[in-house]
Symmetry: C2
Subunit: 176 residues, 2 copies
């Protein structure tokens, strides 16, 4: 079970992404962070803290819960129906540039559903995607703007992200 990122590496990676976000967004004024439940939420909070540590700017941070529910479990399809619940975005996203944060980017289905949910929820100017791990095997033309680490995987493997807030420790492990 290879560990592909340990706590140090995760910390350094999030700091690097915070610098990239600052560099690639001329002004931080309209930026907001939205983490996808479950582990995207602590990642979004850590990015907000890292951005604040660098330049004292507070980026509002919210949470979006996307549960993919297949209307036909036997069928492999991109047309999964998102169920949106426990969403906690306590600010308007109108005219905001959203940084959507998730732990692992895989087929792209969750992200497509999240884009729909955000656009249902308000009128953002743009949506950028931040992921800790890109494991490949996309089934939709979705791409992350900020990637912590590209981890080539086979479809039979799984990528387990553990974070102190949700799992007691920071670690990314590939499981066979």
């Amino acid at each position: 079970m290879p560990v592909v990122m340990d706590a140090d590496r995760i910390g350094r990676t999030l700091t690097r992404i915070a610098h990239e976000i600052i560099e690639r967004n001329r002004t931080l004024d309209q930026l907001v962070l939205v983490g996808i439940q479950r582990r995207g939420v602590p990642l979004a909070r850590r990015l907000a803290a890292a951005i604040h540590a660098i330049n004292q700017h507070e980026v509002p941070t919210g949470a979006l819960d996307i549960t993919l529910y297949r209307d036909d479990l036997m069928r492999h399809t991109v047309g999964t129906q998102p169920v949106v619940g426990r969403t906690d975005i306590p600010f308007s996203i109108d005219d905001k540039r959203i940084l959507l944060v998730d732990d692992v980017l895989y087929t792209g289905r969750t992200i497509r559903a999240a884009l729909d949910a955000l656009i249902e929820f308000g009128r953002p100017t743009s949506i950028q995607l931040v992921v800790l791990i890109d494991r490949g095997h996309r089934e939709l033309p979705i791409k992350a703007d900020y990637v912590g680490k590209n981890v080539p995987t086979s479809p039979s493997q799984s990528v387990q992200v553990r974070l102190a807030e949700t799992d007691g420790r920071d670690e990314v492990e590939i499981q066979e």
Copy 2:
């Protein structure tokens, strides 16, 4: 008004993309092409012809009409409402791997709307994106799988794709 692609270049590029499609899709059996109106449709038909010329495989080809309609024209937002009309997909897209074809990739809004329309329309296994021109300035985390040519532009410029079927000649021009 610089011409960035002439007829020869467009022809060679579509042949190259046809080869890439064959190379990257182990089997062509479940593949279908769907062009976005207006100029994605002749591009999809030409790709089907190019694939047939290479290996005698017939890829079913359909057309999707996405008109973006802003509920508030004064506001710059990714939450445009797609209006789907004149769609002509005379085959089931269930369990199919769709190659979605458009002439120019820009903000990503049209593509997001097209993904929604396709997923509304059936249950595809996957959706890949083919574009003749990627002009940059994305506002959504959308990426093309096959790109004819990357053309850096400023937001004030426009990219005009002309095709024999719709415009009497093949040419891609940047307009100030």
